[in-house]
C-alpha cells in the first residue's frame, strides 16, 4: 500500500515532465531553426543577419520550400517523388526553348512565338502533366512510387537534354518585336521590396496549408497515408487523390524551374539536379513521416528554412563543401531519430489515455 501511495504522489510530476519533453519534441524543427540562426548570427556577426544576406538566403529557401511543399503532399500519402529535380530542369528548358526558338509548325511553314504569359502557362501545364503521368503509372499500373518516379527522373532529364542537344538556352530576354520579353522579371522582380519567388512561396504555403487542413481532399491525403484500405472502404477515391498529389508536385516543380531560368536568364539542362533530395530532407526534417499520414506544411516550411540557413551559413563560414555534406546528412538522420522517439512517446501517451478512460 505504501508503494501505491508513493506512486500517486509521484504522478503529477511525471506528467508535467512528460508534457514538457513532448512539447520540446513537437517543436523540435522550430527549435533547431532558432538554434541554427542564433549560432550563425553570433559567429558571423553582423554579416549573417544583414538585409542582403537575408534576401539571398530567402531566395534559396524559396526554391527548396516550393518543391518541399509539393513533396509533402506526396509523402503524406505514403509515396515519394524522385522526379522533381528533373521536372524542374525540363520546365526550365521548355521555357527557354519557347522564348528563344518558339514553336515551329512545319506544315504551315511558320514559327509561333508565344507571349511570355503563354510560355509560363505552357511550361506549368507540361510539368503538371508529367506529374499526372507519375500518378497514373503508380495507380493504374500499380508501380511502386519509388520506381515510377525514378523512371520519370531519367526520362524528364533526358528530354531536358534533348531539347537543345545538351546545350544551354542563353540570354532569355526575348525580343520586343515578338512580344515575348519580360521573362527575367519573374526571377528579379520585387513586390514591396521582396523578391517574387518569396511571395510565390508564401502564397503556395498558405494555399497548401489550407488544402491540407481545411478541405476534404487534404483529409483524404492524410487518410490514404494512414491506412489506405480503411480510406478506400470509407469511400475515399484513392487513385484520383494519388494522381492529384503527383500533379501538385509537378505543378510546384514548374514554378521552381521557371524561377531559376528567369534568375539566371538562361536554361541549362542540368538545372535542378539532386533537388529532390533537398526537398525530401526538408519534408522529413519538418516532421512528416515517410510512411505517410503524419506531418504538416508548416513543418515542411521550417524544415526548408533549417536546410537553407544551415547550407548558406556553412558556406559563409568557409566550411569545406565536403564537411557541409557530412553535417547536412547527420542533421537529417538525427531528425528522423528524434522523430521516432517522439512517435514512441506519443504511443505511450495514447496508451496512458486509454488506461485512464478504461
Amino acid at each position: 500500500m505504501d508503494t501505491s501511495k508513493a506512486i500517486s504522489a509521484k504522478k503529477p510530476r511525471r506528467i508535467t515532465r512528460t508534457s514538457t519533453l513532448q512539447f520540446l519534441l513537437r517543436g523540435r524543427a522550430f527549435i533547431a531553426l532558432i538554434l541554427v540562426v542564433i549560432f550563425f548570427a553570433w559567429t558571423l556577426w553582423p554579416d549573417f543577419l544583414s538585409a542582403e544576406n537575408i534576401a539571398i538566403m530567402s531566395k534559396h529557401v524559396a526554391q527548396n520550400a516550393l518543391l518541399a511543399i509539393g513533396m509533402t503532399f506526396v509523402i503524406l500519402t505514403g509515396g515519394i517523388d524522385l522526379s522533381v529535380g528533373s521536372i524542374v530542369g525540363l520546365t526550365a528548358m521548355i521555357a527557354g526553348m519557347l522564348i528563344n526558338n518558339g514553336i515551329s509548325i512545319p506544315a504551315l511553314g511558320v514559327i509561333v512565338y508565344p507571349h511570355t504569359w503563354m510560355i509560363l502557362i505552357i511550361s506549368i501545364i507540361i510539368a503538371t502533366i508529367m506529374g499526372s503521368i507519375n500518378g497514373i503509372i503508380i495507380t493504374r499500373f500499380n508501380v511502386a512510387p519509388f520506381i515510377a518516379t525514378l523512371g520519370m527522373m531519367y526520362v524528364a532529364r533526358g528530354f531536358a537534354g534533348l531539347l537543345n542537344n545538351g546545350y544551354t538556352f542563353p540570354n532569355l530576354v526575348g525580343r520586343p518585336e515578338l512580344g515575348n520579353t519580360g521573362f527575367e522579371k519573374l526571377g528579379a522582380g520585387e513586390f514591396l521590396g521582396i523578391n517574387y519567388s518569396i511571395w510565390i512561396m508564401v502564397v503556395f504555403a498558405l494555399v497548401a496549408w489550407f488544402i491540407t487542413t481545411r478541405t476534404p481532399f487534404g483529409r483524404h491525403v492524410y487518410a490514404i497515408g494512414g491506412n489506405e484500405r480503411s480510406a478506400e472502404l470509407s469511400g475515399v477515391r484513392i487513385n484520383r487523390t494519388k494522381v492529384l498529389v503527383y500533379m501538385i508536385s509537378g505543378f510546384c516543380c514548374a514554378f521552381v524551374g521557371l524561377i531559376i531560368a528567369s534568375q539566371l536568364v538562361a536554361a541549362h539542362p542540368a538545372t535542378g539536379q539532386t533537388f529532390e533530395l533537398n526537398a525530401i530532407a526538408a519534408v522529413v526534417l519538418g516532421g512528416t513521416s515517410l510512411a505517410g499520414g503524419r506531418g504538416s506544411i508548416g513543418g515542411t516550411l521550417i524544415g526548408a528554412f533549417v536546410i537553407g540557413v544551415l547550407g548558406d551559413g556553412l558556406v559563409m563560414s568557409n566550411v569545406s563543401s565536403f564537411w557541409q555534406m557530412v553535417i547536412k546528412g547527420t542533421v537529417i538522420v538525427l531528425a528522423v531519430i528524434i522523430d521516432q522517439a517522439q512517435a514512441r512517446m506519443q504511443e505511450r501517451i495514447a496508451l496512458q489515455q486509454q488506461q485512464e478512460l478504461k
Binding site: 476534404p216 484500405r229 472502404l233 477515391r237 486509454q354 478512460l357
Partner: protein
C-alpha cells in the same frame, strides 16, 4: 540451434506440492500516469488451463505481457517452481520455457509457413545453412497434429485469417515450452477449428504443459478452462475452479452487471423490402465461386443475421454489396431502384455502408484523431462552399459521440488511445454519419469486452427501430440467434439455409453451415461441439 528430431515437450515434474508451476506475487505495473495492475497475485497450475478474464483495460494483457517478458513489473515477484526469476525480455522467458501466442498476429505475410514457424530459430546444418528438409518435415507434422491441410510452402499472406491463427499456434508448439500463454487464440477460428485447438490443448495438458488462456468468449472459457481468474480495473477480483462457476458468475465478476441485459433487443417494426439482391456472384480466381449466386431480401427495420463457417463467404457477400469487390456481378435493388453504382464511394452515397470485419486494417486510420476518423466517410457534408467548417464537423462528431456513448476525453485525441470497444463504436459512427439506408456490420463484436458488446447490440437494435436495414455477421451462434430477425446460413459461398427468428436453433444453423462440405463427420463434429456447448 541444435537439431530437433522429435517435436517434444520436456516433461518436468512440478516441484511444488500444491501443483503450482508459476507464481506471480503482488504484481504492480505502473504506466506513466496510470496503474495498470495493482497488487495482483496469479498462480499457474501445472498441466492445467488457467484462464484470465476481464474487460478490455482490466489488466489481463499487461499481466500476460509481464509473464512473457515483454513488459517488466514495477514491483512484485515471479517464481518458477519456487525459484525467483526475472524476465527482462521475451527471449529470457522463452529460455524458461514460457511461450506466447499474441492476439495481434505477428506472422510475416511475405514468408512461407515453414519460414514463419522457424523464424529466428532456424534449424541449421553446422550452424550456417538452413535445413529446409527437417523444417518442412516438422512443419508438416505440426500442421497434421492441428488437423489442418495447409501447404508448408504456402505464403502466410495467402492464408485465411483462421489459418494464420493456426500457424501462430503451430509456431508456439514448435518450441520447447512448459507454459504457453494464449491471448484470444480463437477470435479468428471457426467452430471446427476451435474444436481442433481444444483437442491440442488437452493433449498439451496431458504432456504437462501449463496453459494461460485469455478470451472474451465466456462459454469457451468454461469449456476449456480449469481455473478462472477474473480481473477488473487492474485488480484481482476472484479465482475459482471452472467446475464451480457459470457464465453469469463470470460476467457478474467482470462488470458487476446483470448478464441478461447483454442482448438488448427492443421490439421493432419490420417494414417493406428495402434491399433486394439477385444472383450476387463473385468468381474465384482458380475457378468456382467465392459468392455463388446469392439472392435475398432485406426489409426496413430488420436485422438479418449472416452465419457460416470461416471462408463460407459471409464477408465476401457484404464486401460485394459495399462495392469493395470490382469482380462481383449480380443485381442489387434499393427500394425497388436498381443500384448501378459500383465503387465504394458511390455505394456509400446510395446508402449501402459496411462496417468492415478487420477494425485495425480496414476500419480505422490509426494516424488520425477520433474526430477525423468519424468524419472520414462523409466530409462533403460539412463544407462551407469548398472548405471544411470546423464548427459543423465538431457538432456532427459530438452528436455521434453522445448518441453512441463513445468514451473519449477529447474528440481530437488519437484513435489508438481508445479501447477496442470504443474504436469499434467509432467505425460504426463513421458509417452512420453517411446516413445509410442499409448498414452491414461484419463481426462488430470481435475482440471487444462484454460491456462494449452489449452497447453495440443496443445500437443495432435502435437502428432497426429507426427503420434501417441491418445485416449482421457474427461467428458466435448465440449472438446471431439473439439479435437477428431472420438468419441466412452460407456454406461455400451459397445460401444453405434460411430461418426465421422463431425456427432458428443452434443445431439447425450448424447443420446448414456444414452443407456441401461433403464430410458427414464434419457435420457430426460440429453437432458434437454445439451439444457440448448446450449442456454447459
Amino acid at each position: 540451434m541444435s537439431e530437433q528430431i522429435e517435436i517434444t515437450v520436456p516433461i518436468e515434474v512440478s516441484s511444488s506440492p500444491d501443483g503450482i508451476v508459476l507464481r506471480a506475487e503482488n504484481i504492480t505495473k505502473v504506466f506513466p500516469g496510470t496503474v495498470a495492475l495493482d497488487d495482483v497475485s496469479f498462480n499457474v497450475y501445472y498441466g492445467k488451463v488457467n484462464v484470465l478474464v476481464g474487460e478490455n483495460g482490466a489488466g489481463k494483457s499487461t499481466l500476460m505481457k509481464i509473464l512473457a517478458g515483454v513488459e517488466q513489473p514495477t514491483s512484485g515477484r515471479i517464481f518458477l517452481e519456487d525459484k525467483e526469476i526475472h524476465l527482462r525480455n521475451i527471449q529470457e522467458a522463452a529460455s524458461h520455457g514460457i511461450g506466447i501466442i499474441f492476439q495481434e498476429m505477428t506472422l510475416c505475410p511475405n514468408l512461407s509457413v515453414v519460414e514463419n514457424i522457424y523464424l529466428a530459430r532456424e534449424v541449421t546444418q553446422r550452424g550456417v545453412l538452413i535445413d529446409k528438409k527437417i523444417q518442412k518435415q516438422h512443419t508438416r507434422e505440426l500442421v497434421r497434429r492441428l488437423e489442418q491441410n495447409i501447404d508448408p510452402d504456402a505464403m502466410v499472406g495467402d492464408l485465411r485469417i483462421g489459418q494464420q491463427q493456426i500457424i501462430e499456434i503451430a509456431r508456439a508448439l514448435a518450441q520447447d515450452i512448459r507454459i504457453l500463454i494464449m491471448d484470444e487464440p480463437t477470435s479468428a477460428l471457426s467452430t471446427t477449428e476451435v474444436e481442433v485447438l481444444f483437442r491440442v490443448i488437452n493433449e498439451l495438458k496431458s504432456r504437462g504443459v501449463s496453459i494461460i488462456y485469455i478470451s472474451h468468449k465466456l462459454d469457451e472459457l468454461l469449456q476449456i478452462g480449469d481455473y478462472v481468474t477474473v480481473l477488473r480495473d487492474g485488480r484481482l477480483v476472484e479465482t475459482a475452479s471452472a467446475a464451480d462457476i457459470d457464465v453469469p458468475w463470470i460476467i457478474e465478476k467482470m462488470v458487476g452487471k446483470n448478464p441478461a441485459a447483454l442482448f438488448s433487443r427492443t421490439d421493432h417494426h419490420i417494414g417493406e423490402v428495402l434491399l433486394k439482391v439477385e444472383e450476387l456472384t463473385l468468381p474465384r480466381a482458380g475457378g468456382g465461386y467465392i459468392v455463388d449466386h446469392v439472392s435475398f431480401e432485406l426489409h426496413a427495420g430488420e436485422i438479418l443475421g449472416l452465419y457460416g463457417l470461416m471462408g463460407a463467404g459471409r464477408s465476401d457477400v457484404v464486401d460485394c454489396l459495399a462495392g469493395a469487390r470490382p469482380a462481383a456481378s449480380g443485381r442489387i435493388l434499393l427500394k425497388g431502384q436498381p443500384v448501378l453504382a459500383s465503387t465504394v464511394s458511390e455505394r456509400i452515397r446510395t446508402g449501402i455502408v459496411l462496417v468492415p470485419e478487420d477494425r485495425q486494417r480496414e476500419g480505422l486510420v490509426q494516424s488520425m484523431s477520433v474526430a477525423d476518423n468519424i468524419l472520414l466517410a462523409s466530409l462533403k457534408r460539412y463544407l462551407n462552399r469548398f472548405y471544411l467548417a470546423p464548427k459543423k464537423e465538431k457538432e456532427a462528431v459530438k452528436g455521434m459521440v453522445k448518441s453512441l456513448s463513445i468514451r473519449v476525453a477529447n474528440i481530437q485525441q488519437p484513435i489508438t488511445s481508445l479501447s477496442g470497444g470504443n474504436q469499434q463504436k467509432v467505425v460504426v459512427a463513421k458509417a452512420l454519419l453517411t446516413s445509410p439506408k442499409v448498414l452491414m456490420l461484419d463481426e462488430p463484436t470481435r475482440g471487444i469486452d462484454v460491456g462494449a458488446k452489449s452497447e453495440i447490440f443496443e445500437i443495432m437494435s435502435n437502428l432497426a427501430q429507426e427503420g434501417y436495414g441491418v445485416i449482421f455477421i457474427s461467428s458466435e451462434l448465440k449472438e446471431v440467434l439473439a439479435m437477428s430477425d431472420r438468419i441466412l446460413v452460407l456454406s461455400k459461398g451459397a445460401i444453405t439455409g434460411e430461418f426465421s427468428r422463431q425456427e432458428a436453433t443452434e443445431e439447425k444453423l450448424v447443420v446448414a453451415s456444414a452443407v456441401g462440405h461433403g464430410l458427414a463427420t464434419s457435420a457430426a463434429n460440429q453437432n458434437g461441439g454445439t451439444n457440448k456447448n448446450g449442456h454447459k
